[in-house]
């Protein structure tokens, strides 16, 4: 009887193997090939940028009378550790005319007190326009007593990041608005470079996104990253590589083919009037950055407007990435759930020629290679051992398949490292290069499967429409004097 059952199981596994082994393998091949294609597109862009360096004049943007003024919008919730360093760095950005609007989203810590102390804030009676709908109650508006510092601090009841940004959009006085996370540090020229597409092509550019990198482990002095370094723990180290692939290379690649659908909320610049047109960020959506960018594409295409959404690869916003499994898991579950929500909300665009490359290439890609990736990765991870146990796959052959998939993924990471070294070379120390190679070797052994599991959980929570949970990111804060100690890994 048990032989009979074992035989049935074996037959079932054999059937599943027959049906899925090659599709899963082809999927992995296509997935990594798509990464490679994006890396190559970014390499091309990097090469052009290097050649342009000899005749590019960034000061032109600074001195041009047509450079649009920018309102830098910073939502802050319990950011007492780093808010002053962050705002100081934002105020000191090299840009002809910009203001910083901080929205204290009902913080329960000393976020506001730190700002009052640092900038001598005094209350200002101000009626805030209602260009974008908001749900929170604005409690008060404050400005520095010196009358010169272009800073506005808005206190409001807690209503979440998206609503806080919508309040900030209403408060913003300038024609461009830049979203920056309170825990981010921007390079001094970041705003100048990310605004450059608006200066060069004012009629068409409606949004541009900068690069976000992991700050963990780097030397920070006076709110500036003075030396990029690899962090201590493997969890943040692997995220450094992930951010490199996703921001520096992936988005530059999508931008190059005119199909960029994701601008990070940690560093993105939009035309204010376009944001007002699409109603600002959707507070009911957990993937609000992605949703906003897709909504902008949709609105522009629906109106038949000639427009551009671009990524710039040079200016950098540095952000602290999770260093514990708990926080990272929560982040990845949230991201994946957000991805599902946005793709479902804008499903009409997927495969729709009316939306050009966004509808025909980018969004289908996100469905197949992002949304479904954890399902297929875990199916692949489960099938292998099962096939080995049931004797359907010879160990030597199984090993060969695993090695081939692993080698290709490692090659893509190496290619990304090469683009970083040739175009940007931010990580100057030899030991950081060695660690990066180590990351490329180990990230597919456990980490990738772990994040796939978290993403699958996010997908499942989204499908079951469970209550959205943001989770808490524990900040280490940035030092403002000498080099800061690296945040320790879990």
């Amino acid at each position: 009887m048990s032989d009979f059952v074992a035989g049935d199981l074996r037959d079932a596994v054999a059937l599943v193997m027959d049906l899925s082994l090659w599709p899963v393998l082809v999927y992995f091949l296509l997935l990594n090939s798509s990464y490679l294609a994006l890396v190559l597109l970014a390499a091309r862009e990097g090469s052009l940028n290097r050649r342009r360096a000899s005749f590019t004049d960034h000061d032109e943007t600074l001195s041009s009378p047509l450079t649009p003024a920018v309102s830098v919008l910073v939502p802050a919730y319990n950011e007492e550790a780093g808010i002053v360093a962050s705002v100081s760095a934002l105020l000191a950005l090299r840009y002809p005319r910009h203001e910083v609007v901080v929205v204290d989203d009902g913080s329960t810590d000393a976020t506001f007190a730190r700002l009052v102390e640092a900038y001598g804030l005094v209350p200002e009676a101000r009626r805030i326009p209602d260009d974008v709908a908001t749900t929170a109650t604005v409690l008060s508006v404050h400005v520095p007593a010196d009358g010169r510092t272009p800073l506005v601090v808005v206190r409001k009841t807690n209503s979440g990041r998206s609503d806080a940004l919508n309040v900030a959009i209403n408060v913003a006085r300038h024609e461009l608005v830049c979203f920056v996370d309170a825990d981010s540090l921007l390079d001094p020229d970041a705003l100048t470079v990310v605004a450059r597409p608006f200066v060069d092509d004012p009629a068409r550019v409606v949004a541009s996104g900068g690069v976000v990198r992991a700050v963990n482990g780097s030397r920070v002095v006076a709110g500036r990253v003075v030396e990029a370094r690899m962090p201590q723990g493997w969890l943040p180290r692997i995220q450094v590589m992930e951010y490199l692939r996703a921001f520096l290379l992936g988005r530059a690649g999508w931008s190059r083919i005119g199909a960029l659908v994701l601008i990070s909320g940690a560093f993105g610049l939009y035309r204010r009037d376009v944001l007002v047109e699409v109603g600002g960020l959707d507070p009911t959506c957990i993937g609000e950055d992605f949703e906003l960018c897709v909504a902008v594409h949709r609105a522009m295409r629906d109106q038949g407007r000639d427009y551009r959404v671009v990524a710039v690869s040079e200016p950098i916003s540095w952000t602290e990435v999770p260093s514990t499994r708990r926080v990272l898991g929560s982040q990845r579950r949230r991201w994946h759930r957000g991805l599902l929500e946005v793709l479902w909300r804008h499903r009409r665009m997927i495969g729709n020629p009316r939306y050009g490359r966004v509808g025909l290439v980018a969004l289908p890609y996100y469905v197949v290679f992002e949304l479904l990736a954890p399902v297929l990765e875990l199916v692949g991870a489960a099938l292998g051992p099962l096939a080995l146990v049931t004797g359907l796959l010879e160990p030597a052959r199984a090993l060969a398949v695993v090695l081939a998939v692993y080698a290709y993924a490692m090659f893509v990471s190496m290619a990304a490292l090469a683009v970083e070294e040739f175009s940007f070379h931010r990580y100057g120390r030899w030991r950081d290069l060695a660690v990066s190679v180590g990351v490329a070797l180990v990230e597919n052994l456990g980490y990738r499967q772990l994040t796939a599991w978290w993403r699958l959980q996010g997908l499942w929570a989204g499908l079951r429409r469970r209550e959205q949970v943001w989770g808490v990111m524990t900040r280490q804060g940035f030092g403002t004097e000498a080099a800061t100690p690296s945040p320790s890994a879990a």
Partner: protein, 346 residues
């Protein structure tokens, strides 16, 4: 076959890493060489741009006599000096570049196949302000590469020749513009009032981006003769954006005669953006006669107009307490304890 694929992929990955290491090593060696040579010759370069004429000439002779390998390393540092010095120092650097054949090479490079070479050459000729290159640069405004056209416009501005103004405006009038409006505006500003006659004739150009760019430049240059034309655009241009820019330009010009036109533009029937721009312009204009109007705008139902009115009043030096007193609780009111300096000044 799968194992072979693994082997090939691993080998390629290893090669890529070797390439990365090789790149890092060569870059560091090159940077070290540049640092060493630049430090070695820094006194000469300083004498070149900041020394007395005989000292500068002597330094120029010494640098001109450097061997080719050393010059190749130093050349970028010498070219970079063009952006940092003016007057005699600038002339010395240009003479040195001429002696080393850099300028002749740049003229030749204007016709190279590779766009980055053409752009770099155009940039150098502009920085060096080499006479007789205006025509070549004007031709580059029609180059097939956008970067080259952009750099050509910038260099024409640096050369400061008013004869380039019509060509710059033509590049702007193409659909889409062959050069970014900001680059043209910057070039026109560098050319200065000498280009004003051509700018004035372009105020009613049929292409909106030409009109808007010209309006901005006229305002920035302070061409007072443009007042009538700008008032015409403020009142009747079909595009709100152009009307807003005209308002801003009139504010920058500071002509009291424009106050009635700006006040009209702030009235409720005008587009919201124009009302905001005109309110701001009334503040920029700085005439005392605008205070009463701005007072009234403090109560405007449009929060943006009211905000601008508050800021404008503070900018005009109206004391904070007065602004608060003139405002109703629901209006923008500018400020509580803000701007002590302005308060005192008022």
């Amino acid at each position: 076959m799968i194992l072979a694929a693994f082997g090939v992929t691993s080998a390629v990955a290893a090669l890529v890493m070797l390439g990365v290491v090789a790149r890092r090593v060569t870059r560091r060696l090159r940077e070290a060489r540049v640092r060493r040579l630049t430090a070695q010759h820094r006194p000469l370069l300083l004498s070149l741009v900041a020394g007395d004429p005989p000292e500068a000439r002597e330094a120029a002779t010494a640098v001109a006599a450097l061997d080719t390998a050393s010059w190749r390393v130093l050349e970028p540092a010498v070219v970079a000096l063009l952006a940092k010095v003016r007057g005699e120092g600038h002339e010395e650097v240009v003479r040195l570049l001429g002696t080393r054949g850099v300028l002749v090479r740049a003229r030749r490079d204007l016709h190279r196949r590779r766009a980055s070479r053409r752009a770099a050459a155009a940039d150098l000729l502009g920085r060096a302000q080499v006479p007789g290159t205006v025509r070549s640069l004007v031709r580059l405004l029609d180059d097939r590469d956008a970067d080259v056209r952009h750099v050509a416009a910038r260099s024409l501005g640096r050369l400061g020749s008013a004869s380039a103004v019509p060509s710059l405006l033509r590049a702007l009038a193409a659909e889409p513009p062959r050069v970014p409006p900001a680059a043209v505006a910057q070039a026109l500003l560098r050319i200065g009032p000498a280009g004003a006659p051509d700018l004035l004739t372009a105020v009613d150009h049929p292409v909106a981006v030409v009109r808007s760019t010209v309006v901005v430049v006229l305002g920035r240059l302070g061409v007072t003769g443009a007042g009538t034309a700008l008032r015409g655009l403020l009142a009747g241009d079909p595009l709100t954006d152009v009307r807003c820019l005209a308002a801003t330009a009139l504010g920058a010009l500071g002509m009291p005669g424009a106050v009635p036109d700006l006040v009209r533009a702030t009235r409720p029937g005008s587009p919201g953006a124009l009302r905001v721009a005109a309110t701001r312009a009334l503040g920029d204009l700085g005439a005392s006669s605008t205070v009463a109007v701005l007072d009234g705008l403090l109560h405007d139902p449009d929060a943006r107009v009211a905000t601008e009115a508050g800021h404008a009043l503070l900018g005009l030096g109206v004391p904070r307490a007065d602004v608060l007193a003139r405002s109703t609780p629901s209006s923008v009111v500018a400020v509580a304890e803000r701007v002590p300096a302005l308060t005192g000044a008022a």
